[in-house]
Amino acid sequence: MASVPERAASTPVPESRLRRHPALRVLPKLASIPQAIFGIIVIGAIVLAAVFAPWIVPTDPEEMDFDNLLSGFSSQHLLGSDQMGRDTLARLIVGARIALMVSLGAVGLGALIGVPLGLIAVYFRGFVDDLIMRVMDAVVVFPSLLIAVGLAAALGGSLKTVIIAIGIANVPWMARIVRSQGLSIRELDYVAAAEAGGLSSQRIIFRHILPNTLAPVIVQATLSMGYAVLTEAALSFIGVGIQPPTPTWGNMLQQAFPMLDQQPLLSIVPGFAIFLLVLAFNFIGDALRDVLDPRLRGVIH
């Protein structure tokens, strides 16, 4: 999603303010925002379900109950069963793991590559900066979904390739944030003074710029996680995502669609799960932005 990420970091955070907001003080502040509480509860529940999946899953998600095909709510299958008689609840819970792994993995990968690229651009400036940013522009031209479709088609659909695909689509946003943040910090009076006073570029990067990019990167990352979940679902839906028999919310929707008039429940449940998780990520991301960087408040709200 183009618009949300790039807005998150339009203003640099002066170093001093971040210091007054150590990580420990973020949580209580978050707890005062109702949306954030909602988000934390939803994600907490999904994380717990994912972690304890082996113990709480009602049946093996691959177990096929050929006597109960396409069933609705029932005592054997709380959330119904699919075309092959597999339990929707069990598949939903196992799918939660995948959703979390994809969002964490993809955003982590994006940051791991994007942040250093941004820093390199700030450090060298000039030609290197131009080159890096033009390549980033070239990647940004494509909607991240399209990049992911291309890569997933090239590499074959698996957890690894989906993470790589969505991760790569995340790189330019991270690099852009770090770069724009870094460049404006370099312009700040006291940083410029320190530079003029002989402080090495490396020290400037690591002492002043990197710590100050942290807040926007975290905000961006949280929002991107929601988008990663959406992208994974879309990839699976058009058939290039993580492949069966591994259940993901996206491929559950894909397999449910042809059965839409036979059993609509199959299409409703996983979509709603995706919606909840993305909503939770967005709430937390918005709240984090408000807490970490009040000046951005209102840009989106």
Binding site: S3, P143, S144, A154
Partner: protein, 317 residues
């Protein structure tokens, strides 16, 4: 201003080259013999034919040479022929792009028609129930998978109520009624995210404007509330809408990939997905070129319009 436009155009050129080359290399990197992909899965050619096909498509040359050959022809407007249906890619893309454009435009109009008034209303009636409803919709609209919304719309309006067609495309210029009927559901699914964003942005822009001094002055002068809102605030509230319009171009293409597949619309997105599956290189390349051009143009136009609307922006970006 002309200088600014020129510089932006020059910046776009390398972006275009890099983007098309990246895709070119990516398509060739897909495992398997590319010449087999040219044949497709349904039929058999013998070795002699396969060798001719390999030579005709320069598949033995290095990637860079192949790219240069493609680029040379592309500059002349020749994008080659699709291996899926043996038609010229350029002509095929033109038809499909028009289809996608129609849906994109419909989605955007829908988003603006709902998003802007809803945003303004919720700003004016801040804290009232209307505001809460609008806020919920705008938050939900960003988080909802648009293809799932499409599925739910198909379920409700197509399967259950039978009010609207759920598949295919009818040219709106040939049959306006059927064209519109076919357009409603996909445009809605495609536009919901933009609608939510426009709603959010026009609301906050409006709030900001309403708090400005000149607004208070205008009100103090006794102008009616409605006049104040519409005349003074609207222009300022337009800015975020323009921004979203620019971003929408990219989103149309992205959304079109899934939405066109879902609704069976023969546009660029569906064509590109088919082409990626079939490894129809020339179509993928052509579509990427088209998309990059469209996105870059839209970005440029957005910036120009933005600069024109908002004199605070200088042309030195």
């Amino acid at each position: 201003m002309p200088q600014y436009v020129l510089r932006r155009l020059l910046q776009a050129l390398p972006v275009l080259l890099i983007a098309t080359f990246l895709v070119f290399a990516l398509m060739l990197a897909i495992p398997g013999d590319p010449v087999r992909a040219l044949i497709g899965p349904g039929e058999a050619l013998d070795e002699e034919q396969i060798q001719i096909l390999r030579e005709e498509n320069h598949l033995d040359e290095p990637v860079l040479v192949q790219y240069a050959l493609w680029l040379g022809k592309a500059l002349k407007g020749d994008l080659g022929r699709s291996t899926q249906n043996q038609r010229p890619v350029a002509a095929e893309l033109r038809t499909r792009a028009l289809t996608t454009f129609q849906f994109g435009l419909a989605a955007w109009i829908l988003a603006v028609l709902i998003g802007v008034p809803a945003g303004i209303v919720s700003a004016v009636y801040r804290g009232k129930p209307v505001d809460y409803i609008a806020t919920v919709v705008s938050i939900g609209g960003v988080a909802i998978p648009n293809f799932w919304l499409g599925i739910m719309a198909i379920l409700l309006f197509g399967v259950t109520l039978g009010w609207l067609p759920t598949q295919g495309y009818v040219n709106i210029f040939e049959d306006p009624v059927q064209g519109l009927r076919h357009m409603i559901l996909p445009a809605f699914a495609l536009g919901i995210t933009s609608c939510a964003l426009i709603m959010r942005q026009s609301r906050s822009a409006m709030l900001e404007v309403l708090a400005q001094d000149y607004m208070r002055t205008a009100r103090a002068k006794g102008l009616r509330e409605r006049t104040v809102v519409w005349v003074h605030a609207l222009r300022n509230a337009l800015l975020p809408v323009i921004t979203v319009l620019g971003l929408q171009t990219g989103r149309i293409f992205a959304g079109a990939i899934v939405i066109e597949t879902l609704f069976g619309i023969p546009g660029t997105g569906q064509f590109m997905v088919q082409a990626i599956f079939a490894r129809d290189f020339k179509v993928v390349q052509g579509a990427v070129l088209l998309m990059a051009l469209a996105v870059l143009t839209a970005n440029l136009l957005t910036d120009i319009v933005y600069a024109w609307l908002d004199p605070r922006i200088k042309y030195d970006g």
